[in-house]
Amino acid sequence: MKSLSILWNVFVRDFRKQSGRMTLTIVGLLWGTISIMLLLSFGEGLYQQMSINSKGMGEGFSVIWGGRTNKEFKGLPRGRRIWFLANDLPYFQAKLPDAKLVTGEMMRWGQRISYKDKFLSQMVDGLYPEYESLRALYPQMGGRFINKKDLELKRRVVFLGNEVKDDLMPDVENPIGETIFINSVPFTVVGIMEPKRQTNSYASRDSRNVFIPLTTYQTMWNEPYFDNLILAVDKKDYARMEEFTDRLNLAAAQKYKYDPEDKVLGIWDTIESQEMMDNILLGLKYFLGFVGFMTLAIAGVGVANIMFVSVKERTREIGVKMAMGARRSTIQLQFITEALFITFMGGGIGISLIYCLTEAFKMVPLDIPALDMMGRPTVSLIDGLIVVCILVAMGTLAGYFPSRKASSVSPVESLRYE
């Protein structure tokens, strides 16, 4: 405790005496820290934004669609069309009892949607209530998604993508309960989708879609076939998605008599593409962090240089201090403390500055499309900790080696140094 207070007193005193040089070094470190934090926070913001965007379609499912057989199988010719019926759902659900959800949807492009004197040509999507959470189709305040009752009663209700609403009924404040027409058939609007950012889609953006109950869809167009099957799994099974799609393929092959090795079905595993996206973004973030690290490393070299010069210049002073009863450890710790103080001052100010900047930036309401994709720079706790660790390591190294050299020389030699 006593030696700590000695160290502190010596440090404070000497530090004040050479504040000019120290300030310059601190500015150098500040610069380095700002660079690394800026790049890291930019990377983090991009990463978070892209994650949100790519999850806009929902997550944890595969989209499966039918195709034609390429091989002859058990006497059946090739080129047969394999397409799934709405009635097949119970069969697949029974074959995949451990899946979170097996469901399907029907789609029809270019349908005439009209409201009063306005009309649009849009895709109509017939689906089940489970799509709400599966595909992140959440209603805005006051509305709802298509429910079980709608399905049972084949109600003519419609859930609109928010852009469709904006185009079709731009001036209507409360569209819930309004009647619109799909191919001249009247439908009641029950909900408008909450706007979301979506970078992936497999037909059209959800914001431009018109959603109706699957049963109503079938009645309207007398349609027996699904366009897509959707296979969703629980979070714990994300890693096993391929196994689930293989089993579904096998079940389909048994039912429709084709070779399971024959690539008949189209499969889009969104988990896999999500992972790929994640990896690319993470790679980008690490790259940015590395560039920042190099900048910081240069600042670190600066600190080491300053400490080296400082020790060299103060060799005689070290000799005097030792003659006056300074212990080697005190001398050595003094230099390490100085180096650490410099790195912490520069680093601390840099990190706080960037943190305040990014927080302030978040509060500014900017409606720039670029921000929807790039996100806003964000300081994450982990990034901050990593930078702090780098600074500590740098400070210790920059102080340790010169001071070890200085304090290992005998006092006589230090005193003789000119």
Binding site: V10, V320, A323, M324, A326, T330
Partner: protein, 226 residues
Amino acid sequence: MIRMSNVSKVYHTGSITFEALRDVNIEIKEREYCAVVGPSGSGKSTLMNIIGCLDDSSTGEYYLRGQKVANMTQNQLADIRNKTIGFVFQSFNLLPYATAEENVEVPLLFAGQSRKLRLERCRFLLERVGLADKMKNRPTEMSGGEMQRVAVARALANDPPLILADEPTGNLDTRTGGAIVDLFNELHDEGRTIIMITHDPNIAAQLPRQIYMQDGALVDRLRAAS
């Protein structure tokens, strides 16, 4: 206070070896006041550095206040330099960026004294050496005599029983030097042991005991050559 038997110091510079001290046997009692006299390169400073625990001997034994110095740890040596020995150098060796007060404070800092006590002690010592009005001055704003007074005050900081002075008047004119010697006389009267290297035969003659050195060895009396 000090007992040395067969102490030698050999320096190796590349293939050249240089014997700075050879077989020095000496005993200095408490409260003694000695002058160490001899030509340049006779080993005076080397002897002083070994006595002051700033350097170690190559061979031989050195006892300071009955303790064998060779057996001490680095920290013990540091504490001895801090509390038992006060150094005064020819070139003052003050910290250039620090004020007189801060220079005197250095040994007190390493002794771990409280700030209040440190400031009191600095004031007291600087008043004592006649520099009460120069406490906040830096070495560059002081004359040589003043700087040496600061150095003496610093040497006294932890009230050490032994004062080692390596040509304290070497960089001063006769009058200023005389005043410094007077200061040492006072310190001796207070009961301190003082060992002073000097080139000045007049100063050496004033002191109760003279130690003569030549070619790294103690001699009875300097030969006519010098």
